[in-house]
């Protein structure tokens, strides 16, 4: 009986591992290929390179139009950090109002917020572009960054509302008795206690900004302002006739490193973020 269970468990493990290897095989192959000489990349499906070279990283890093990938990484990182700051401030404030404060029209505005969660972004796309164009913002980071300070990512408002509602109200009340105003309660009670949800917000803001392509395609016009994702796409080009596929693979590999580090460092926040709000993906 017992050996039967062990046998069954071993088989299940083997099956899960085999399926998992199949799932991540393309990614692993990409990483390995980035160390293969350019001519050998696509003829060789194996995971152990016959010759190891760093040449792809050197040629890829040079980027194009006189701008190196170093610049693109700094640009992406800059956008991520500003977006995180914007989302943390604006979404937490809105969430606090919805979760804790009493005001006229609250249920109406909350319903509006929930509707915007499901709204496809395309209906606002053209007018937003026209608006930002009239501000002469096209070609700068402002069309990408300013909306973050206006809580346009309703997902995070929703996530934070859910979290703040679950915090015990007695703490707010005690703070009010001790003389805290609404800002005091917000800063001293809500923000520190909501920190797990704030980490989730920061994490997903980072990922979405890092991986964003559409907004970068629309609004970033000069190569020196490009993000990594926008630069990768131009690096590969329209026809895909680029000869330096090794360089493309190397830079694509580098572009995934920040995501990987965050994922393995903060896995718990991922799982909570996804299972409480169904964050898309």
């Amino acid at each position: 009986m017992k050996s039967g269970t062990i046998m069954r468990h071993t088989l299940t493990h083997l099956f899960i591992i085999a399926l998992g290897v199949l799932m991540i095989y393309p990614v692993v192959w990409m990483v390995v290929s980035s160390f293969k000489p350019n001519t050998m990349i696509f003829s060789d499906p194996g995971l152990i390179p016959k010759a190891v070279t760093f040449e792809n990283y050197i040629t890829g890093w040079k980027g194009y139009a006189g701008t190196t990938f170093g610049r693109f990484f700094i640009n992406s990182l800059f956008m991520c950090l500003v977006s995180i700051t914007g989302n943390l401030i604006s979404c937490t404030m809105a969430a606090y109002a919805f979760a804790r404060l009493k005001f006229a029209g609250k249920s109406f505005w909350f319903a509006v917020m929930m509707i915007t969660l499901m709204l496809p972004g395309h209906v606002t796309l053209v007018p937003r572009y026209i608006l930002f164009n009239s501000f002469e913002w096209v070609g700068t980071y402002l069309p990408i960054l300013v909306p973050k300070f206006l809580a346009t990512d309703a997902f995070f408002v929703f996530l934070l509302v859910q979290f703040i509602r679950s915090l015990p109200k007695e703490l707010d009340e005690a703070a009010i008795i001790d003389g805290c105003g609404k800002w005091g309660v917000f800063w001293r009670i809500i923000v520190p206690l909501a920190s797990p949800a704030l980490v989730t917000t920061a994490l997903f803001t980072f990922l979405w900004t890092w991986d964003d392509f559409f907004n970068h395609l629309l609004y970033l016009t000069k190569p020196e302002t490009f993000s990594v994702s926008r630069a990768l796409r131009t690096f590969v080009g329209d026809a895909g006739a680029v000869s330096n596929w090794g360089g493309a693979m190397a830079m694509a590999t580098l572009s995934m490193i920040p995501t990987f580090i965050l994922f393995f460092a903060l896995q718990q926040y991922f799982v909570e973020g996804i299972s409480t709000t169904g964050i898309k993906g």
Partner: protein, 322 residues
């Protein structure tokens, strides 16, 4: 006296609450509500932002341009007297998108549920496996993976290399063959099953183990248990995943743009709706037309979501038995 202080208190409460809400409210009014109204209006015009002042009201012209082909038209006379051509690719983009949504979403959910059930066992290392299975979703939306995908499914790519090693011959270039190009994108989407899997896994953990125990005491086999216990109790989660994935699938852009090389691929076989909208608006500066297209997309998504919710009365149970 008492009345005034009540009014002051009411004002004070409201003012401070609205201060907290102000960034969101401003964002909603300026970046959502106003653009929605504006794009609704633009949808009835011929608008090119590079030529200000040339905007013309053309009534339903943009909508004729989309659906005129259904009535066998090639061109029509707009209310301005101008002869306008029917968009020859619109219906194609619609059919590409529908084929994609109606295959990728069910396949993704089935696969996510199967993997979630596989991982919902008393096993060591489940958090680790869950992490590994999430990796494709973590990376899949990026340009890096889209670039990789294009190389994998080329004629000389890795996939054909592997199939060739297994003895297959006469292999097509999957991306460049209009018969298969869309399926490489469906595969890329199904591969990113991680989020749905995590949500299913959380849902499966909520089902009390005793239900299965008493069912097996009553002689129900695993398949009967699956249909009598798992599916009904998981149905709200299935509904949620279905709606979220469907809404997302209609809006896929990046992968289609990269894999199609900035266009709709060979014979427009991967001309996704959003890609077509982008090309119309930003390549041809037909921004009135692009706005009208966006509104049709909104109506399609809204109608399908409403249909799914209406149908949910038939197949979703909210556990009233507990």
């Amino acid at each position: 006296m008492h009345k005034t202080s009540a009014i002051i208190k009411f004002l004070k409460n409201n003012v401070s609450a609205y201060l907290f809400l102000a960034p969101w409210l401003l964002g909603f009014l300026v970046l959502t509500l106003y653009p929605m109204g504006y794009s609704l209006w633009l949808g009835f015009t011929d608008y090119d932002f590079t030529k200000p002042g040339s905007t013309q009201w053309i009534g339903l012209g943009n909508y004729m341009k989309m659906f005129g082909a259904v009535f066998g038209m090639n061109e029509f006379t707009a209310s301005t007297g101008e002869v306008m051509r029917i968009d020859p690719y619109y219906l194609k983009s619609l059919s590409v998108t529908f084929s994609y949504v109606f295959t990728s979403v069910p396949l993704k959910l089935l696969f996510a549920l199967a993997v979630a059930m596989l991982l919902n066992q008393k096993l060591r290392g489940v958090p680790f496996y869950r992490a590994v299975y999430y990796i494709p979703t973590l990376l899949g939306g990026s340009v890096a993976i889209a670039v990789l995908w294009r190389k994998l499914f080329e004629k000389e790519g890795l996939v054909n290399g592997l199939l060739g090693a297994l003895g297959f011959t006469d292999l097509p270039g999957w991306i460049t063959n209009p018969k298969y190009a869309l399926w490489t994108l469906v595969l890329l989407t199904v591969w990113q099953f991680g989020s749905s899997m995590i949500i299913f896994l959380a849902g499966l953990k909520q089902i009390p183990q005793e239900y299965y125990e008493s069912a097996s005491v009553d002689g129900a086999n695993k398949i009967q248990q699956f249909f009598a216990i798992t599916i009904p109790l998981l149905s709200p989660v299935i509904l949620f995943n279905l709606v979220m994935q469907m809404i997302g699938a209609f809006q896929v852009f990046t992968q289609a743009y990269i894999i199609g090389g900035g266009r709709g691929g060979v014979l427009n076989s991967t001309l996704f709706y959003t890609l077509h909208l982008y090309i119309q608006g930003w390549t041809y500066h037909e921004m009135g037309y692009a706005s009208a297209m966006a509104w049709v997309l909104l109506l399609i998504i809204g109608a399908l979501t409403a249909m799914v919710f209406r149908s949910s009365g038939l197949w979703v149970s909210y556990g009233t038995g507990e």
